[in-house]
């Protein structure tokens, strides 16, 4: 907690990833970016790049195809980082729960810090969730974080060998 960490709350950069939801949440996210709610007034930007993002905003129930992608995105983000699971699907799968192709929620893949309930959550709820996330984020250190069931094997499966 040095001098620089005071400025964390001023610029949360968001990485948004949809893991197979119905796009309802995504539309709400767009609404949050749009003039009425304008999340940029808090300094938040939608970066679309894990390397430069601080908050991983996940929507959707995590389909099996998305699983590894979500893991990679999480690992590529530099610490300190927070994960926000948005919408009912993220919380254990929602209406998709126990489907053959679904991992039943973000929590099974990566550790989640903030849950935003709703189907789909209101933009105000989203902003509230992000404010909560910033509170948690401010307390985090720069130590490396790992995904759920982290093991050497899994890392090896995720990446490719160097050429």
């Amino acid at each position: 907690m040095g001098f620089f960490s005071k400025f964390r709350k001023k610029s949360p950069w968001i990485l948004h990833y949809n893991t197979g939801g119905c796009n309802g949440c995504d539309i709400e996210i767009l609404a949050t970016l749009a003039p009425k709610y304008d999340i940029e007034r808090f300094g938040a930007l939608n970066r679309g790049n894990p390397k430069q993002a601080d908050i991983l905003l996940v929507t959707g129930p995590v389909t099996k195809n998305c699983r590894d992608v979500l893991r990679r995105l999480y690992l590529e983000m530099p610490e300190p980082k927070v994960v926000v699971a948005m919408g009912a699907c993220g919380h254990g799968g929602g209406v998709f729960r126990h489907l053959y192709n679904v991992e039943n929620g973000v929590d099974n893949i990566i550790p989640v810090d903030v849950w935003i309930p709703g189907c789909a959550p209101n933009p105000r709820a989203l902003i509230d969730g992000i404010v909560e996330a910033i509170k948690i984020w401010e307390k985090k250190s720069k130590d490396k974080e790992y995904m759920k069931n982290h093991s050497k094997e899994m890392i090896k499966n995720l990446g490719v060998n160097d050429d």
């Binding site: 990833y17 590529e76 990446g159 490719v160 160097d162």
Partner: protein, 616 residues
């Protein structure tokens, strides 16, 4: 002085003969190493000595030269008949006819036949400092599965002597003889491997350069007919009266020798030969005759319609060769195209003809010679030690061949980037030409220079981009031990380029500007203030030179030493596994226009012949 000149010409020949006869590794290696200090000493002694030197030669030498001429042309005829090439045959017959005509018409002249001024001495220096290391390099290069090493080195040595001779003759008929001798040398070198492709390319080089010979002969005849003299010094002494058509044909021969656009194929063909051939053709010898010839006649053609047409043609080649180079895949071909391009720039600077432009041309010649020699040497190293020929094979070169890549990087930096000579040449050109923009050709010139340099920068960055590509940390650097000869030659060029660049201001102001002043007849307003370079009112400060140099040195050398303490992650690919291979653009959108671009260059070339030559 006279003896120095004669020795600079004769010694390479003597060495060549010795190497050829001895066919012994020790003799070849030691003689080629020995030639470096000898020729460098002679050249530098000459360069700083009292010049110009005129040497009267006896009548017998004249006759010998005529005999040699015919011998040479009949040899071309023989080659044409042997390989059943009608072009070579007809051009050889044409040349013989024209030569007989010229000899019949030729009046007696008392002007000395050998004439060495600062410009010739300047080329001597380049031949000694750039050309001889390539011969040294060839002695090792030919040890890698190549045949006839000693013959090859002998031809190279002989070529250096011929080049020295060619730039010191005054008589245009002699110049023709030596011009065609360099043609012969290039034919012999290009077809050295004696396989079908090599011979085809050799023949191509032969007939294309024969066209240049024909142009010289026509120029000679015109000059004899209209002016009655045929020596360079006579032309320069009577700038007003000389037949512009003759100068037009002389410049045509320069365009051919300089591999300008419709005639660029022969220089590309040279890449089938062993790499030292390309190195020597591109850097020190052969193609440098072209800017040399234009620099010789620059004060006479300055400001004429011919000069403006040449500006348009050579500038066009500068841009178009750079564009076509973008579409190439073969590393040596890319280098060849960039040579063609930069030769265009050199000639462009030479025909503008003001002292500053001439300085720019000379600076370009120096830097191009060193950098291109360097790059081709490294291309040969890549080919032999790392088996890399195409740029797509250059991936991960940063790991496999760190030192070689560093040298290539440095060579490329020299070809366009800021504190180096090529940039200074362009800078001088643009600022000089800005003074007389009232003629359209000069505005085109500025566009040419701006566009061409942008295209060349893109070309080099593209090639470098592939060779540094790497997924993860650059950790497994294992420098492969290279032969000491290769390292000696590389370091030789590297150090020369570095030293000249640091002291570029005094180098240009004290060494290059006097040559340009001597050619142009009036003095260029270029001075060195300490290590800063002043041209007219613009100053290139030393802190700028040093800053850019340090930046670029850091960029090309530091990656091997800097290790940040940070965690390593995968590149981002939307969370997917990232692809194993990433190529680069091949600029296919440009390559489909290649034929149109070349066709247009033919049109420009014809325009130079018709309008510039004053045939209309």
């Amino acid at each position: 002085m006279e003896s120095l000149i004669v020795l600079s010409i004769i010694i390479p020949w003597v060495f060549a003969l010795t190497v050829y006869l001895a066919k012994n590794d020790f003799v070849t290696n030691s003689l080629s190493y020995l030639l470096l200090p000898i020729l460098a000493f002679f050249a530098i002694e000459l360069f700083f000595g009292t010049l110009p030197v005129y040497i009267h030669t006896s009548k017998i030498l004249d006759i010998l030269m005529d005999v040699y001429d015919f011998g040479l042309l009949f040899f071309f005829l023989y080659v044409g008949i042997k390989y059943k090439n009608s072009l070579v045959i007809s051009l050889a017959i044409l040349q013989i006819t024209l030569l007989i005509m010229a000899l019949i018409m030729m009046p007696h002249s008392d002007t000395p036949n050998i004439f060495v001024d600062k410009l010739s001495a300047f080329i001597y220096v380049i031949v000694a400092l750039v050309g001889v290391p390539i011969v040294i390099y060839a002695t090792k290069y030919m040890d890698y599965n190549e045949k006839n090493k000693h013959t090859f080195v002998a031809i190279l040595l002989w070529f250096l002597g011929v080049m020295n001779f060619a730039v010191s003759v005054n008589n245009i008929e002699w110049f023709f003889a030596l011009f065609e001798t360099t043609t012969l040398a290039s034919y012999a070198l290009i077809s050295f491997r004696k396989d079908e492709e090599a011979i085809n390319n050799g023949i191509l080089a032969l007939w294309m350069n024969q066209i240049g010979g024909v142009a010289i002969l026509i120029a000679l005849i015109l000059m004899i007919k209209y002016n009655g003299y045929y020596h360079f010094t006579d032309i320069l002494n009577h700038p007003k009266t000389v037949a512009i058509a003759a100068l037009g044909f002389l410049s045509l021969s320069a365009l051919v020798k300089g591999a300008q656009m419709p005639f660029h194929k022969w220089l590309l063909g040279a890449m089938v030969a062993p790499t030292p051939v390309s190195a020597i053709l591109h850097s020190a010898t052969m193609v440098k005759i072209a800017p040399y010839l234009l620099l010789r006649i620059a004060p006479v053609i300055k400001g004429t319609l011919l000069a403006k047409l040449l500006i348009i043609t050579t500038g066009y080649v500068f841009v178009v060769a750079a564009i076509i180079a973008l579409t190439q895949d073969n590393f040596k071909k890319i280098l060849a195209y960039s040579t063609i391009s930069l030769l265009g720039l050199m000639m462009l600077a030479a025909v503008v003809g003001t002292p500053i432009a001439l300085t720019a041309s000379l600076v370009l010649i120096v830097f191009h010679a060193f950098a291109k020699g360097f790059l081709f040497v490294e291309a040969g190293v890549l080919e032999k030690a790392f088996h890399v020929k195409y740029i797509k094979q250059m991936r991960r070169l940063v790991e496999r061949a760190p030192i070689t890549l560093m040298f290539i990087f440095f060579g490329f930096l020299n070809m366009t980037f800021v504190p180096f000579g090529t940039f200074i040449g362009k800078w001088m050109m643009i600022e000089e030409v800005s003074n007389f923009l009232h003629h359209g050709s000069y505005i085109i010139l500025i566009l040419y220079v701006g566009a061409g340099s942008a295209f060349l920068s893109i070309l080099y960055m593209k090639v470098l981009g592939i060779s540094v590509r790497k997924a993860h940390g650059i950790e497994r650097i294992k420098p492969i031990k290279l032969p000491i000869t290769f390292n000696f030659v590389s370091v030789w060029y590297y150090l020369w380029l570095l030293v000249i660049t640091i002291f570029i201001a005094p180098f240009i102001a004290n060494e290059i500007v006097p040559i340009a002043n001597m050619i142009a007849g009036n003095s260029a307003n270029i001075h060195a203030i300490g290590l800063s370079l002043q041209m007219n009112h613009s100053i290139l400060y030393f802190w700028q030179i040093l800053g850019a140099l340090i930046l670029l040195l850091l960029i090309h050398a530091l990656p091997y030493f800097v290790k940040f303490k940070a965690d390593i992650v995968h590149p981002y690919n939307c969370g997917e596994r990232f692809p194993r291979y990433i190529e680069t653009w091949n600029f296919e959108c440009l390559s489909k226009y290649e034929n149109y671009l070349i066709a247009f260059s033919i049109a420009l070339f014809i325009m130079v012949v018709v309008l510039g030559g004053g045939l209309l």
